[in-house]
């Protein structure tokens, strides 16, 4: 039965609907993998095998009655712990929300359940989605299922913030998982573990019920084994939501049905400014390889310029913490979550004690940065300036897309690194997202697809950035690379 866990979203859905196997068999198989890997990988904060079975049984019953099955029918998935799930603890991997059980279901997760998906559990992540290595979770690090091919057994970073999602999909604990991407949190972990992940256009997926990090950047998306699975799952997740004022009021296209790796007539832009000093030569080589694959698919490849790229990371690390410092003010110990009320403490002292105990170091760092850049006297120099940069970056892309249809770039400047390597050097950690952040600031759809392995046997990803609302162009270019890369590598099971 264990071979069922080698299947992806499309294969499971089709197998269930054709009666090759039952949804319950699938759920049981993945439940077993989740349980077996928990101690070694720590990918889940909470496992919910009963939820997975319940959803599977509903799908099997619906099929038995001959009912129409949903896009995700019989597919058990992992849910990043940033999504509120009714009746199931939702913590954003923080101590301050430990034990918090929402009375409501996020729009995205509700959409998935409606499409027939089931929940294997809540996935570990960087605390409040702040981190690039999954080392900021209150519930411990997530360990990448990958190890270097030289026989080393150092624990590697699964990427972040959706590190539980990436590890779980790569290790076959789930065929797909939700992620959220604020400045690369879907793409970077996907690249680190050799899977696909797409951040759609800002506004495609409702933010309602997703614990907020930086509202103007946060966007949910799927992480799965291939491009087709991403397309199917994104269709199930996306859609206009009147409860989110920034939600796009557009119909959800049929991305999966319209997938094509025929790029004839398409132009692919190669941004000159992404050839940065210090970028791993193997990354650059995989980028060149990607160019060849896209040419092979019929695309014309041209150089484009995104002149403000070097300001993207600094601007991001002003805008995102500024919004976070305000978004996280609600965790104050008054209404829910952790409350630390020392004997005789007044209100201010309760806030201080609660937040000191409830937030991790990285979260505190970003709250401090955000508070600082919004303070009187600094606001114009930092926040306003960063917003202006953001406008310029969006304009860079607009101009580039006058001459090309999709942009190809590396996802990350390096492959995965050992846990602990960068934990004491926040700036080095932040640099991980240098290629991911510009698309986030511009609100554009972007995805990472596996391109190959480096000399150490670790996966490398390539990033595709599209025009606003053109997820199809991104997915199609991703598919063209996927078909040519023939990436089949998977981590050997050591756990």
């Amino acid at each position: 039965m264990s071979d069922l866990t080698d299947l992806g979203v499309a294969a499971i859905r089709d197998g269930v609907s054709s009666g090759q196997f039952s949804a319950r068999e699938v759920a049981e198989a993945f439940n077993a993998n989740v349980a077996a890997a928990q101690d070694a990988l720590n990918a889940f904060i909470v496992a919910t095998p009963e939820k997975a079975l319940e959803a599977a049984d509903a799908v099997d019953a619906a099929r038995a009655k001959g009912e129409q099955l949903g896009k995700m029918a019989g597919v058990p998935i992992g849910m990043k712990d940033l999504f509120a799930t009714k009746g199931v603890q939702t913590t954003a991997a923080s101590h301050i929300l430990e034990g918090f059980v929402p009375e409501y279901e996020s729009t995205v997760s509700a959409n998935l359940w409606r499409a027939g998906a089931g929940m294997l559990g809540k996935l570990n992540m960087d605390q409040f989605a702040m981190g690039s290595s999954n080392e900021t979770s209150y519930f411990g690090n997530v360990i990448s299922p990958w190890r270097t091919s030289d026989g080393g057994n150092a624990a590697l970073a699964p990427g972040g913030s959706s590190g539980g999602s990436s590890a779980a999909v790569a290790a076959r604990l789930c065929p797909a998982a939700t992620g959220t991407d604020t400045g690369g949190s879907i793409r970077q972990p996907a690249a680190f573990v050799g899977i696909s992940g797409i951040k759609p256009t800002y506004g495609r997926c409702s933010r309602w019920g997703v614990v907020a990090f930086a509202s103007s950047l946060d966007q949910a998306g799927p992480m799965a084994r291939d491009v087709t699975d991403c397309a199917i799952m994104l269709e199930a997740m996306a859609g206009f939501d009147p409860k989110d004022a920034t939600s796009l009021n557009l119909p959800v296209p049929e991305w999966a049905a319209n997938l094509s790796d025929d790029l004839r007539g398409k132009r692919v832009g190669i941004p000159r400014e992404y050839r940065m000093d210090g970028t791993d030569p193997e990354i650059l080589a995989s980028w060149d390889q990607g160019i060849e694959w896209l040419k092979d698919a019929g695309a014309e490849v041209i150089e484009v310029s995104l002149p403000h790229t070097k300001y993207a990371l600094p601007a991001y690390y002003i805008v995102a913490p500024a919004e976070a410092s305000s978004n996280l003010a609600r965790y104050d110990g008054v209404r829910y979550g952790l409350r630390d009320l020392p004997q005789g403490a007044n209100l201010q002292e309760m806030y201080a004690a609660t937040r000191a105990a409830g937030f991790g170091e990285e979260v505190k760092r970003r709250i401090l940065i955000g508070t600082y850049v919004l303070s009187a006297g600094f606001y114009d120099a930092y926040y306003n300036q960063a917003q202006r940069v953001r406008t310029l970056i969006a304009r860079d892309f607009e101009q580039a897309f006058e001459t090309c249809d999709v942009i190809l770039a590396p996802t990350t400047p390096t492959a995965s690194f050992a846990l602990g390597d960068k934990v004491d050097d926040p700036l080095a950690m932040y640099l991980n997202d240098v290629f991911a952040v510009p698309a986030s600031l511009a609100g554009l759809p972007a995805m990472s697809v596996p391109a190959g392995l480096n000399a150490q046997g670790l996966p490398l990803g390539l990033q595709l950035i599209g025009k606003a609302f053109d997820e199809q162009g991104v997915l199609n270019a991703g598919l063209a690379i996927e078909r040519r890369a023939g990436f089949t590598a998977r981590p050997d099971r050591w756990w």
């Binding site: 999504f83 509120a84 939702t90 954003a92 929300l97 918090f100 929402p102 009375e103 409501y104 996020s106 933010r207 309602w208 019920g209 997703v210 614990v211 907020a212 930086a214 509202s215 103007s216 009147p242 409860k243 989110d244 004022a245 920034t246 500024a322 919004e323 410092s325 305000s326 996280l328 003010a329 609600r330 104050d332 008054v334 209404r335 829910y336 209100l347 201010q348 806030y351 508070t371 919004l374 303070s375 009187a376 606001y379 926040y383």
Partner: protein
């Protein structure tokens, strides 16, 4: 804009001081639902019974603007002839307090919904307002209200009631154009009247639907503005005026004693009529305002603005002008009748009913209806006190009384008596007039008979009158009315007496 300056002065040891006043009025928007959530806004509900997930700032909850609240604020802006900003934006004002679940208030600092406008306060000689004065309004923005802390429910803990959390407020910010407590009082009353006309706020200060932050400074006439203090959350017109009186005197005394006024936030104590310091500028919050990233800028289209404008009712100033020009009322009466929604509604209803009953134009009965509405009816009501049931004070009943009076069937005194009975019992005016004998005699035969008796009994006076003592006419009228127990129609009595005496 008039340039007339108020003569209101604080008399200090070093001479006279002028008071400069600006008001920030917070008016709760009349709407069934809160500004960014679907929760109800009714007053007086059980604590925490009207709180949505958004109002409690649960993780992942998002604000969605309530169109009706925006519409009401735009209509209010139109009513003060303000510039409506087609593009505005919400900002977050960040601070921690237990009654503020999000840890920030969604407000509008940088781009308010409504820009520059004005309203006119009316001349009031007695109050020291020599002529009409225009008070500038800088802006109106919309924002969320906070919840409420209750400190008296538990010996060592405070409770939080979030029913008001997220309720929509309009903050209406005046220019520092007022120069006396009376002007400030008139401004608040006029603003409340406009809000109630528009229907955008019920203006109920007792329930906290409207409250004012009072900015006061003093200066020697002609000098630059002094340092101001802001007294928060003053919740009646009287308290606004008291705050200004106290604050102005305090500041003058402070300066004249060699001190300086510090820019600070103060609280008004209704018990003593004084203000006290709440926090100074040094420990003022840094609110770290920035655009709320959960919300897109608010863009208003032509259709929306047109609907707002078309739905505006006739406003107080226009109505007053119409009462004077079309109904022929005095400016004073027109001003009083249009000062408040309740009073003009009662007046217009009665005017319509009376003119319908008499088959006359509104203008032909307006003076009678205005006098009745402004002095007769309130007089009767007040005299009766708790004996009166205001539910009986229908336009129908009052119009019936006015019609009888107008037709000469009853006298003014009888009208009052009938109305008294109406208010106590709810009986029909015509039936009361009949049953209680409250009708005046217009039958010329009967009146002539009485006149003949009076003239016969006073032949000496008749001779004197006819000899040129005209003043005696009143005596004959009085005697005739007395003989008829006050029920004679005075016009008929006059006419017949005149004919008999002069004839």
């Amino acid at each position: 804009m008039t340039t007339t300056t108020s003569t209101y002065r604080i008399h200090g040891a070093t001479g006279e001081w002028e008071v400069v006043i600006g008001l920030e009025v917070h008016a709760q928007v009349t709407s069934n639902a809160k500004l960014f959530s679907g929760a109800s806004t009714a007053f007086g509900a059980e604590p925490n019974s009207q709180v949505s997930l958004v109002d409690a700032a649960m993780p992942g909850m998002l604000p969605v603007p309530n169109r009706e609240c925006i519409r009401q604020a735009v209509r209010t802006g139109m009513a003060i002839e303000a510039r409506i900003n087609r593009w505005s934006r919400f900002d977050r004002k960040n601070y921690f307090y237990a009654d503020l679940p999000q840890g920030y208030q969604i407000s509008q600092l940088y781009h308010p919904l409504v820009g520059e406008g004005a309203l006119t306060i009316e001349a009031d000689e007695k109050a020291g307002i020599p002529e009409d004065k225009t008070i500038g309004i800088e802006r109106i923005h919309v924002e969320q209200d906070a919840g409420k802390l209750m400190h008296d429910q538990h010996p060592s803990m405070s409770y939080v009631d979030l029913n008001r959390s997220g309720v929509a407020l309009m903050e209406i910010v005046s220019r520092p154009d007022m120069r006396s407590p009376a002007e400030a009082g008139a401004y608040v009353r006029k603003l409340r009247s406009i809000l109630r006309y528009v229907g955008s706020c019920d203006g109920n200060m007792e329930e906290g639907s409207m409250r004012a932050d009072v900015n006061v400074s003093v200066r020697k006439p002609g000098d630059e503005f002094g340092t101001r203090t802001e007294t928060k959350n003053v919740n009646s017109v009287r308290f606004v005026m008291q705050t200004i009186e106290h604050e102005a005197r305090r500041q003058v005394d402070l300066i004249e004693d060699g001190g300086t006024v510090v820019q600070e936030t103060r609280l008004f104590d209704p018990g003593t009529g004084t203000t006290r310091s709440m926090r100074s500028k040094e420990d003022a919050h840094d609110y770290r305002y920035f655009p709320d990233p959960d919300l897109l800028p608010l863009e208003l289209d032509d259709a929306f603005l047109a609907e707002c404008r078309e739905s505006l009712p006739e406003l107080p100033d226009a109505k007053k002008r119409r009462y004077v020009e079309e109904l022929g009322l005095s400016a004073y009466n027109a001003g009083v009748l249009t000062a408040d929604v309740d009073s003009f509604r009662r007046f217009e209803e009665l005017l319509e009913a009376t003119s319908a009953k008499l088959g006359k134009g509104a203008k032909d009965v307006s003076t009678q209806v205005a006098n009745w509405s402004l002095s007769v009816a309130p007089g009767v009501l007040n005299a009766l006190g708790s004996e009166a049931d205001e539910g009986h004070a229908t336009a129908e009943a009052q119009a019936a009384i006015l019609a009888m009076q107008s037709a000469g069937e009853i006298s003014g005194g009888q009208a009052k008596e009938i109305y008294e009975i109406v208010l106590k019992t709810g009986r029909e005016p015509a039936e009361i007039a009949e049953t209680e004998g409250l009708k005046q005699q217009s039958d010329t035969g009967a009146i002539e008979a009485e006149i003949d008796k009076v003239l016969a009994a006073n032949t000496d006076k008749v001779a004197e009158y006819r000899g040129g003592k005209d003043k005696l006419f009143g005596f004959f009228v009085g005697q005739t009315m007395k003989a008829m127990a006050g029920k004679g129609n005075p016009a008929v009595v006059n006419q017949l007496l005149k004919a008999k005496l002069d004839g």
